[in-house]
Amino acid sequence: MKKFAELIKDLDSTNKTTEKISYITRYLSTANDSDKLWMIFLLSGGRIKKNFTTPELRQWTVEASDIPQWLFDESYAFVGDLAETISLVISKANVISEYSLSELVGMISNKTKCEKDDTKQSIFDVWKVLGRGELFAFNKLITGGFRLGVSSGILINAIAAHESAEQDVIAFRLSGNWDPYNTTYSALIRGDNESLNLSRPYPFHLAYPVEGNVQDLGKCDELSAEWKWDGIRAQLIRRDGQMFIWSRGEEIITEKFPELSVASDFIPDGTVLDGELICFIDGKPLNFNVLQKRIGRKNVTRKILEEAPAVFVAYDILEHQGTDIRKESFDSRREKLEEILTAKEHGSVFRLSPLIRFDNWSELKNIREQSLEMRAEGLMIKRKDSSYQTGRKKGSWWKWKIDPMTVDAVMIYAQAGHGRRSGLFTDYTFAVWDNEKLVTIAKAYSGLTNKEIEEVDKFVKANTVERFGPVRTVSPELVFEIAFEGIAESSRHKSGIALRFPRISRWRKDKKASEADTIIELRKLIKK
């Protein structure tokens, strides 16, 4: 655990990618295989299986640390990170023992509900014998994820360097749902078990937002445009007579879309398509909200299939006749994609994302204006000669989104941030006017500069009206412009509406609370 704790500390203390990679490589060269596997799992955001809840863990901390619950809560509100708070309030160990990462994982995870008391005792025992750094790493392990700014790219880079392997190969092996409880480091990384690979997606190629002038992207005839669909990015995989659907969140979602099971009739074996899942009715996409609701349901009922049928809008092909063709140009891949999707009558479930012809930028600009009608988020622009790359790469794919919608809203609640922004009030809840009352419409975290956050923080501290645990009610004075990508009916919020991707676009210091928008104005934006 000492080495792992050191790795965590080192990763935490640098922002430089090259240093992060070298720290991970160093760990890989010293740790045993099972520790390596767990490190990879944890740094990719994996969580161990545990038989206790976070509130129970807090309760146990209170028992072990001899401070009252409220004082623990105050401490947590200030520190902003549960694992760190626990580490700081637990008494320092007198005798330090050495456990390996996988030993500790074994002690506290994968136990049944009945063994809860055992787990509690193990945690208490471990707390008594770990040094400070190890304690923090251990508590991170039992509270949830390690967020250390280690992107999958960094991890892949480090493993590839350690294994002297191609990065693409490692990325491929790490993508998808592998289970650290049922595999080994060498099976995962060195691919001893080829049948595992049957369902694996490729890492997604992500687009860069257009910054500055769109004309600067290149010559019109070297570029290709299409709608940026507002759905779930997914890969459809047909191999060995089977079909798998992977979301960009690297989850298998095949079961959620039974209507796509007809793929075997239309899409030949040895094919991987990249596209967007969207709900589609009468030749028109539905609001994203419909899809989101559908994803949240445990069972896909007939009613859902009728009300919100899904289609797969394909825009790229990564594997053709069993061969990885990602290195081919976009043009050549597109040709193959069109061949497959037009060769047979494929019904309405599989659709080709149409290419948009344009001769000059002003033409494309006009087309972009129609995004809302198409229920698209804007346009995608791709270089015709671009290969299909891994992750977010500059210079070949761009997303050119339409300007977001905005609303002027009043801040009414504030909460201290977690992690990097702990101790400062950074999470705000916003409201608009419903006659004489303010109704909440959104929570937003980002969008202010550090300096502005400090200013708001001061305001919150000086203008707290009420406190509910970590949440402060503040006097409704500050007005912010909130930008968002979509709006829909919702029963979850008091206001009856939900915003998609709300964030603060600017602080309207020029406006008084009374000048904020009303719910009636906001409702007008909902598209039926």
Binding site: S75, G419, L424
Partner: protein, 332 residues
């Protein structure tokens, strides 16, 4: 009651004196020379003798100031006033007021651990104790000074081997000199920012033993600074450009750095949880040692500490709740 909390600060009506007033008054008693405790504009000042030079340096040479030795007492309108080491920074004191057998101690800022530079904290028995609460959360547990010094030195030597210069932020009065004493040796190159150098000079005049080191100048050649540690005030850490020093790393020495979130928020390369305030354990210990029946809690986590003490059956309350102005904190 011997003291009351007014909008100008802590006031002893019987003696007609304010302690660390936030506004100009006629008679001000000053616990120490940090800017949130020592304000300009009062007609006369009284402070501990060791603090006179420092106070003049901070708020003006022309002030009318009387100095009292630690432990000595003066009497104003029957109130016996004396100064006792607070262990916070050089020349800092707790102010003890005694009137008709009742004793009140205003502690200013304090720490219990001896830092090798500041006069060691002295527990003073009293009926009423006014305590700070800057770090009154159980998450604040300082490592012993020698351990912190070790980790700073480790950071330094790691940087030296990478060819980096080290820039460390520390409050220019107190913390900077404490660091300087810990880090300076014949073999090691420590430099200080000019504002710290001025205070070093003042402290030497006041009788403190501060190592003689060079002032860091913007015009210095990068070669001259190879392997050096430069101590600068916190404001300079974020405001000044050290790009000429590349490659370099920066760090901040402050109690707040004991929490990872604050470290990351300010995005320093390193943070060292070194404070001139008492941590949770020492705040509790200090309160117990006074044997006070009544405790007033001032700036910091006032609500938390007052509630905690009450649950321990100590009659505690937040000093002046609303009437005392919220002061901007300056940790040291």
């Amino acid at each position: 009651m011997l003291i009351e909390f007014t909008s100008s600060g802590i006031f002893c009506r019987t003696a007609g004196v304010y302690i660390d007033p936030s506004k100009p008054v006629s008679k001000a008693i000053i616990t120490h020379s940090h800017s949130d405790h020592a304000k300009r504009g009062s007609s006369s000042y009284m402070t501990c003798k060791k603090n006179i030079q420092i106070l003049r340096h901070r708020i003006g040479n022309s002030i009318d100031v009387t100095g009292i030795d630690y432990g000595d007492a003066v009497s104003i309108n029957g109130v016996k006033i004396s100064f006792h080491p607070a262990g916070h920074i050089p020349g800092s004191s707790q102010v003890r007021l005694e009137y008709k057998g009742e004793v009140c101690v205003v502690s200013g800022d304090y720490k219990l651990e001896y830092d090798g530079l500041t006069e060691e904290y002295e527990p003073v028995k009293c009926n009423t104790f006014v305590t700070e609460s800057t770090f009154a959360l159980p998450v604040f547990k300082w490592d012993p000074q020698n351990e912190i010094a070790e980790s700073i030195k480790k950071w330094w030597s790691r940087n030296k081997s990478k060819g980096n210069v080290c820039v460390i932020g520390a409050y220019s009065l107190g913390k900077a000199q404490r660091l300087l004493k810990l880090l300076h040796s014949d073999e090691e190159r420590v430099l200080v920012h000019s504002s710290i150098q001025q205070i070093n000079h003042v402290l030497r005049l006041a009788g403190y033993d501060i190592p003689e080191v060079k002032t860091y100048e913007q015009s210095m050649n990068r070669n001259e600074l190879e392997g050096a540690m430069i101590i600068v005030p916190p404001a300079s850490l974020s405001a000044d450009s050290f790009s000429k020093l590349e490659p370099y790393e920066n760090a901040f020495a402050s109690g707040w750095m004991a929490v990872r979130g604050s470290r990351r928020w300010q995005s320093f390369d390193a943070g060292f949880g070194m404070s001139d305030h008492a941590d949770w354990k020492d705040l509790n210990e200090a309160v117990l040692m006074t044997g006070a029946e009544k405790v007033f809690v001032t700036h910091g986590f006032t609500e938390v500490f007052a509630r905690w003490l009450k649950e321990k059956n100590i009659d505690a309350e937040i000093a002046g709740e609303k009437s005392l102005q919220v002061r901007t904190d300056s940790d040291s």
